[in-house]
């Protein structure tokens, strides 16, 4: 059960119980939907992107497991105010942390997001942790197509 506490850290449980930046925003200009058929997680990301490519606001809707809900909730806070480029870089490190091969420094430079480092031990849950991210990237790409993590 110590192991499992590394996955379900307090912050993750907290964000899954009371997700931040949850609910539709009127002022967003980019959106995308994502679906994880394994848990039945559904997520919808909304972004307000400025003309110079900064994510001025991010929020999400949907329902899902604790990992996917917390992942969506925490990323909205961490990424707010970042440039699109920075977001893509952070996602690359995040992915490396939760699903990368070999030894990976646990969440270095990822700040709060490092709380998801435990996911690495649970291959079946990687998709839960990355669903919101994939959906966010999809929204940024501006193509309207549902993301699925099959």
């Amino acid at each position: 059960m110590n192991d499992i506490r590394e996955l379900y850290q307090e912050m993750i449980l907290d964000h899954s119980r009371s997700p931040r930046n949850f609910g539709p925003k009127e002022k967003h200009n980019l959106s995308a939907k994502g679906h994880n058929p394994l848990c039945g997680d559904d997520v919808e990301m909304h972004i307000l992107r400025t003309t110079d490519g900064v994510l001025e606001d991010i929020c999400f809707e949907g329902s899902g497991c604790a990992i996917s809900t917390a992942s969506a909730s925490i990323l909205t806070g961490v990424l707010k105010g970042r440039s699109e480029e920075a977001v893509r870089e952070i996602f690359a490190s995040f992915r490396q942390m939760v699903a990368g091969q070999g030894d990976v420094p646990a969440g270095e430079g990822l700040g709060k997001l490092a709380v998801f480092s435990g996911v690495r031990q649970y291959p079946a849950r990687v998709k839960c942790a990355t669903l919101a991210w994939h959906t966010l990237i999809q929204a940024l790409s501006g193509v309207e197509e549902e993301v699925s993590t099959e």
Binding site: M1, I4, L7, Y8, L13, R17, C39, G40, S63, C65
Partner: protein
Amino acid sequence: MNRTPQTNESCPSFSHLDPIRRRFPCLQQEIHGNPLVYLDSAATTQKPTQVLQAVESFYQEDCSNVHRGVHTLSERATIRYEAVRAKVAQFIHAPDPHGVIFTSGTTEAINLVARTIGRDRVSSGDQVLISTMEHHANIVPWQMLCEEQGAKLVIIPCTDDGDLILDDLQSLITDRTKVVSIGHVSNAVGTMHDIQNVIAVAREKGAITMIDSAQAISHLPIDVEQLGCDFLAFSAHKMYGPTGTGVLWGRKELLDQMSPWQGGGDMIRTVTFENSTFADVPWKFEAGTPHIAGVIGLGAAVDFIQEVGFETIQPHEQQLLEKTVTRLDQLDGLTIIGRPENRISVVSFVLDRIHPHDAGTIMDQQGVAIRAGHHCAMPLMSRFGVAATIRASFAIYNTLDDIDALVAAIESVQEVFN
């Protein structure tokens, strides 16, 4: 937080099952340092050694293609393969082994029926009747057929307890109802449906009847003659047999009339480029090299079930079920989904404010393997207003101790979240 051994609860009358459990090599392992407690048999059962040996002995001794060979290996393989047809026929009390068609599983069996006789009989404006409690395998093929033919899919509703509402059966089945395809036992909540009743009414109205027995075949004796259905399907892998094979049983008179489905070797009598004539039933429906090893393994699985006997299987599984329901009802923050009148081998439940998937991960840490999800029964999940459930399902190798482990694992989930 490790579970307390509750061997005192282990009913002495079950000690004769210990040797059975020992025949399942996969159960003899630890998961995350805890003994494996496998409660996912509705997804697939574990396989006893005798099934693995049957498969292996085919490959090691008789490995050959069937039907068209004159040499010894081919002869032996053919005899072993065809012997399983007779064995399966006897197992489900089918009058004619030629009504037994080997498919790749229940899914292929239902698709085969939908695409052959289904397509022939169902026209624009006709109806196909299923229930709200079906597995996707018994929904999607009919949905595709109805869409193609301009027919209507009609649904038998269910109660909050998870029992089919059969009072209106006489009006649900009309002159336009060409096919009635019903699950035997619900894989999501465990209901054993009153199919005898449904079949009787459907036959009266002249509809074809198909029973999806995927979740029944390993739990109760099946007698197709007594049921009176036209088709019945099941998968070997859910009855202690290998993956990749299953059975469609059909009434010989219907099968004889049906056009074939897949084309290929073994299902033809003669081929010219102008036209082909087809082989007799059942081979007409078995195109290509069959899953010989799988069918032979299925034969061994039937032997296993018959050796243990339903007279042993049924009371054991009922006792497991009763203990599970009783113990789960004692837990706070847990709701059992479905309280069917007759339940077989499956209990589904949800935990307050905890997603089944998170529960599944935490329970796995305790070695307890349950399924979390929609169980390929999304319409039923909608009916009950849940996205997913936690499902524990049983087989002959489970023990009363396994239920204690289940309860302990649920408690540890709640501990993490509360």
